[in-house]
């Protein structure tokens, strides 16, 4: 067997714990009331279009994109706007939100096809595809929620050669992308062709880690039927799902510091986004639902759910057997990059890839002791940084040095904090340093 590809520098091997692997995607029933956050993406907040008391249809536009780097927000259900209020997002801070009292049966907005027939015939041309994806409010579903149409629009002077599809799902526990690849393989293949047409490239490569053999096999079997698509099995290593790591692993190209994947001729999309693009372009369906993994060692029935956006976390947790008693933390996202949410009423957004329940003993952070200069953090950093140094610099507020040490290259994967034998809060401080340095650089430009 040939040696499997992976990125070269750094990376860690946390235990897999893919408890919900192989479980089918279940549809979660619509709750009585949903809370749709107005802004669910990175970029400018959208402008509100509805008011209290309005009757809305499923898929209706609720808020209109507020700029180029912004996205539309659609109604995930049919019902009446109960309130325009503020609601807690995953950080606990209150953000503008639309509360909708839902009706049991969906009345779909005109033009949306709700059948599940596979439609392989791509009628739109490249520009129209980007336009459609923008209209339907698509954002990166891997967790970063960056508006997809921005990534699709290749800037002048740059050329895209490859479309890289992220089916890696390197986060432990999460299986949402895996489940999607197994159940909607054909749709994903058509989705990839749509995106290839949108970006204007001839070849696409799907990267899948070798802990998902069934997905690799299934997609490899399908690939010959679709022109230009190939599958690249990868050696399991965290954080292979990071754009830069994935490009290094598949194409063996380095994205320059401060650069974007397009600088080395690649555009990266997550399989979740690919499936959403298929639905947006072929079925005219906006992004109103996503796959959410509910998992954790103490969860009764770890599962993958298809959840309408705006559903409170409690409803999703209840469907998986309720919140266990000894719960220490509920993490939105995976254990490596996710964040603990401060309450169970927090709604599912476009970026929620999973809900992970950690038991009390798992959730506690260990006591912080002195750095022993073992340089394990330097070895595991996939971005060639020195986390122990950046942490000290951030603690001492030495912003110039931090900038010199390229703190902004950090992808916040958390490998350093994971590996540290002294349990030092490396990423915590690096994140703080990053925000300070970003602020200074911004003020310089003015």
């Amino acid at each position: 067997m040939s040696v499997l590809k992976t990125f070269v520098k750094g990376g860690i091997h946390p235990p897999d714990h893919k408890l919900s692997a192989g479980k089918p995607i279940q549809n979660l029933p619509l709750p009585k009331q949903i809370t749709v956050l107005v802004s669910q993406h990175i970029g400018a907040p959208p402008k509100l279009l509805v008011k209290r008391g309005d009757q809305v249809k499923t898929g209706q536009l609720l808020a209109e994109s507020g700029g180029f780097v912004s996205a539309n927000t659609h109604s995930p259900a049919t019902g009446k706007v109960a309130k325009i209020d503020s609601a807690m997002d995953s950080s606990g801070y209150r953000k503008p939100a639309i509360l909708i009292d839902t009706e049991e049966t969906d009345e779909w907005e005109e033009g949306i096809l709700t059948d599940t027939v596979l439609d392989k015939n791509i009628q739109l041309n490249g520009g129209d595809i980007i336009q459609k994806i923008m209209e339907k409010g698509l954002v990166g579903l891997g967790g970063a929620t960056f508006p997809s149409h921005v990534k699709l629009s290749v800037p002048k002077g740059k050329t895209a050669e490859y479309l890289v599809i992220n089916g890696v799902e390197c986060e432990p526990y999460l299986t949402a992308d895996h489940a999607l690849m197994m159940e909607k393989s054909d749709e994903i293949m058509v989705g990839i062709q749509i995106l290839m047409k949108g970006v204007g490239v001839e070849s696409a490569i799907i990267g899948i880690e070798n802990n998902k053999q069934d997905a690799i096999e299934k997609l490899t079997r399908l690939a010959p039927a679709y022109k230009g698509i190939s599958i690249q099995p990868l050696k399991t290593k965290y954080p292979q799902g990071g754009e830069k790591q994935l490009i290094k692993a598949i194409l063996n190209r380095e994205v320059p510091p401060g650069g974007l994947p397009i600088d080395v001729g690649a555009v990266v999309f997550n399989v979740g986004t690919v499936y959403a693009s298929y639905e947006a372009v072929q079925k005219n369906k906006p992004l109103i639902e996503r796959i959410v993994t509910v998992t954790g060692k103490s969860v009764k029935e770890p599962a993958n759910f298809r959840v309408r956006i705006g559903t409170p976390s409690t409803a999703v947790l209840d469907a998986a057997g309720g919140l266990p008693e000894d719960t220490g933390k509920i993490i939105s996202g995976g254990p490596m990059m996710g964040r603990a949410i401060p309450g169970t009423e927090i709604p599912i957004t476009k970026g929620s890839s999973g809900l992970l329940i950690l038991r009390n003993e798992e959730a506690k952070r260990e006591k912080i002791i002195a750095c022993i200069r073992c340089t394990k953090c330097v070895q595991v950093c996939p971005m060639y940084l020195e986390p122990y140094l950046l942490q000290t610099l951030s603690e001492k507020d030495l912003t110039d040095r931090m900038e010199q040490e390229r703190i902004l290259d950090c992808v916040e994967c958390g490998s350093c904090s994971y590996i540290c034998p002294s349990n030092r809060p490396l990423l915590d401080y690096i994140r703080l340093g990053k925000s300070k340095v970003t602020k200074i650089i911004r003020s310089r430009k003015k």
Binding site: S91, Y93, R339, P342, G343, R365, P425, D428, Y429, L432
Partner: protein
């Protein structure tokens, strides 16, 4: 033997003289003229190097004072009016008179008033906790209690009270340099006008949420009811974003707003006890004031 010592002394002295001559000419050639007044001004400044003036230390501030004709925009909060007038006299410029200020903590969410709903076990820094989420209590505006302000204070004028989990300002030591204001990620600390006998009347809350939400998370939150605005005879109180604010320069310390506040969000500090009938209410309020806990037990 003695010859060796003699030659050594002679050759070293000759070298020394030669070096001295070279250095003399080099020093003359590369002499940097520095205004002697900079040294004098620096001497008059407090030498705290706190950065409260906005410059990188006292020397830097002294240079700026000498360089600029109009020094009305410059002020040393640590030295105060005395220092500024002394400096102005040295330079023959006109100083600006400012009211002395003092740091005031605008959060009264002690453990007893604001229940903690979760446990934070990350890095012990307010800046980090604030960037991650709302904090251990539900209040997204309240004090996080890790003492970033305490660390930033160069004058030992601010320390965390373990009983309340809030910072306390020692008014006598506070120089209003503003380091804590910058250090607090939630902008809780404000520099307010220093009144005689350190008396203060201020809204000890910066929560801009709607009243019901704010009150749910903290029983001493300002709920934005506007009662204080109505009763204030000097138009010193404004209500914006569900939050009352008392302008320290308009407030005449009449204290009429204090008993009016339904949530006891307005604090009065360092006042003699009230004589009127609402003594009972007064004492409970005194206990709730972090600055007064010590003096109360003494009395």
């Amino acid at each position: 033997m003695s010859n060796i010592i003699l030659y050594t002394i002679l050759s070293l002295s000759a070298l020394g003289v030669l070096a001295a001559i070279i250095l003399y000419f080099v020093a003359r050639k590369f002499k940097v003229y520095e205004d002697p007044r900079i040294d004098q001004v620096e001497e008059a400044l407090p030498a705290a190097n706190c950065g409260g003036c906005g410059f990188a230390g006292c020397r830097n501030f002294a240079e700026a004072l000498v360089r600029h004709e109009d020094i009305s925009a410059f002020y040393c909060p640590v030295g105060g009016n005395n220092t500024m007038s002394a400096v102005a006299k040295l330079l023959g410029k006109t100083p600006v008179e400012n009211d002395p200020l003092v740091a005031v903590v605008r959060c009264n969410g002690a453990y007893s008033h604001r229940p903690r709903t979760n446990i934070y076990d990350g890095a012990a820094s307010c800046a980090i906790e604030s960037s991650l989420y709302t904090g251990e209590s539900g209040c997204p505006f309240g004090c996080l209690g890790h003492g970033d302000c305490e660390v930033s204070c160069n004058f030992d004028a601010l320390y965390m009270n373990p009983e309340t989990g809030l910072p306390m300002v020692v008014d006598d030591k506070c120089t209003a340099c503003g380091a804590c204001v910058k250090a607090c990620p939630r902008d809780i600390i404000e520099l307010r006008k220093k009144n005689p006998k350190d008396r203060k009347v201020f809204v000890s809350c910066i929560n801009q949420e709607k009243g019901a939400v704010a009150k749910k998370n903290c029983e001493v939150a300002c709920i934005g009811c506007g009662k204080c605005v109505k009763i204030c005879p000097f138009d010193a109180i404004t209500l914006e974003n569900n939050l009352a604010y008392i302008d320290p320069f308009k407030c005449r310390l009449c204290r009429k707003c204090v008993p009016e506040c339904p949530t006891n969000a307005i604090l009065e500090v360092n006042f003699p006890p009230r004589k009127e009938k609402n003594v009972a209410q007064e004492t409970t309020m005194k206990v709730r004031t972090p600055e007064n806990t010590d003096t109360d037990t003494n009395k």
